[in-house]
Amino acid sequence: MPLLSAEELRTRLGRDLPGAVLEAAPLQIVPPAHGSKGPFVTTDVLVEPTRLLDAALYLRDQVGYTYLSDIAVVDYLTDNLLEVVYRFYHLDGGPSLALKVRLPRENPELASLTPHWPGANFHEREAYDLYGVVFTGHPFLRRIYMWDEFEGFPMRKDFPKQGDKYIGAEE
């Protein structure tokens, strides 16, 4: 029964992959979420973006969390960064572990996990389509919801919500 806490994973990653784990700075959530008190401090493991692949492979091969369940992106507009969350499960059961990566909102780039987890394909395409995170090494990084000519990334917090964005935009 694998019961590895995020704290234990952080110490193990810090020991085996020096320089891969970062100290997580508190983030502003604007407007504040229901029942939130002050800035948000994550308890999950924050990984250095260039070392993400190492950390993910370590989690799979050394720790045994083989199932990449989900890739999510969170836009922290006030802190001017995008956070990509990778969620892993152990096939024997138990709670999940997350790896988080923080990227600048301008030109966010990240190594793709698709060569090692074929199931990450659509998740990464979704993240690219809606948030504009570019996954280098992805075999087919194209928009998955929107059409190819679409401009902008609709789930970013600064995507305009009012006014004519497309009607007559090309004129």
């Binding site: 045994g64 679409f150 902008g152």
Partner: protein, 357 residues
């Protein structure tokens, strides 16, 4: 691209070597363990035994209030009026452009009405981003929690207004806190748009009783509104101010009208033109003016601040009546007419005097 395969994970089942019959018992033990464990609810997902699942079609997981699946339109429970005013904000905000709106028109004037005639959302291309609900200034479009949209009919996913309409009570049942935040403003804006909606435009189409009720209400309003001011003037008690004022003014206006009609008549052929009807009208006006003045004079002394106004109106009426009478008298009319005009003038003068006293 090369996908590296062959990462096989070998699971250690910890069985060891078995003797004859032991495999069967071990298998039965697994079954027994799971059967016993299934009676315990596993709620933190850290245990391997217990019930992980819920019996889905019969029971469902509770969704968070802010969960969003597909957008729907709200209408008011009481009146059946839709909150949407066809302002096109959602259609503009929609990234995949799946919202299509037609605004309603007033059939009599041809002017646009703050209500939608047709509202289409293509659910098959909707990406559930919720930007339409965020952009809506009237809180008319909200994200639904309904997720069982599987269908074999793709065109069935093009949802028209009739399919999208939901009562506000439905939204409060799925997201009470979110509705409480916006309730006041939304309802206030709805009242504003109802005022600008003629007939039954803007009422959800399937609510035939609400439409009938609205028709009845509008008919009642139409029937009640024109006679209302006329009925108010004579029925008003003497103690009230404004109806008296109104009556006095009305009398003055009538007197003036009568007075104005007479000079025009006197110029070409006075004797022939000045009919007894004109004289009668002048008389009537004078009587009315006198009555109004009397009424004003009789009003209790408690209404001191309003009194000067009443007095003024009465005086004015008397003067106008006198003028009218004079005009009538100047014309070389029949003696009956002259007499009536004189009488009216005297009465008006008396009323004015009484009032001034």
């Amino acid at each position: 691209m090369d996908i590296q395969r062959g990462n096989i994970i070998v699971m250690d089942r910890r069985r060891g070597t078995l003797r004859a019959g032991q495999g069967l018992l071990q298998g039965l033990k697994v079954v027994w363990d799971h059967w016993v464990g299934s009676f315990r609810k596993n709620d933190n997902f850290s245990q391997i035994h217990g019930t992980f699942t819920i019996e889905y079609p019969d029971e469902r997981m509770k969704l968070p209030q802010a969960y969003r699946n597909m957008p729907v339109l709200l209408y008011d429970d009481e009146t059946g009026q839709e909150l949407c005013t066809a302002c096109y904000q959602c259609a503009r905000a929609c990234p995949p452009e799946v919202i299509h709106i037609t605004q309603a028109k007033d059939p009599n004037t041809g002017k646009m009405v703050p209500a939608s005639l047709e509202f289409i959302i293509e659910y098959d291309a909707c990406m559930s981003c919720g930007l339409c609900a965020e952009a809506c200034p009237f809180d008319a479009i909200k994200m639904d929690h309904f997720y069982e949209l599987s269908t074999d009919n793709r065109m069935g996913l093009m949802q028209r207004k009739a399919d999208l309409n939901r009562p506000v009570s439905y939204y409060t049942s799925i997201a009470p806190d979110l509705w409480d935040e916006v309730k006041e403003g939304a309802m206030k804006k709805l009242q504003g748009s109802i005022k600008r909606r003629p007939d039954v435009i803007g009422i959800a189409g399937h609510l035939s009783e609400k439409i009938a009720a609205r028709r009845r209400q509008l008919a009642a309003e139409a029937a009640a509104s024109p006679p209302a001011p006329v009925a108010a003037a004579p029925a008003a008690p003497a103690g009230k101010l404004s109806p008296e004022e109104k009556a006095a003014k009305l009398a003055a206006m009538r007197a003036a009208k009568a007075g104005g009609a007479e000079p025009a008549a006197e110029a070409p052929a006075p004797a022939a033109e000045l009919s007894p009807a004109d004289a009668k009208a002048a008389k009537l006006a004078a009587i009315k003016a006198a009555n109004a003045a009397k009424k004003a004079a009789e009003s209790p002394a408690a209404e001191v601040p309003a009194a000067p106004l009443d007095e003024k109106a009465a005086k004015l009426a008397a003067i106008r009546a006198a003028n009218a009478a004079k005009a009538a008298a100047e014309a070389p009319a029949a003696p009956l007419d002259e007499k009536a005009a004189k009488l009216a003038a005297i009465r008006a003068a008396n009323a004015a005097k009484k009032k001034s006293e």
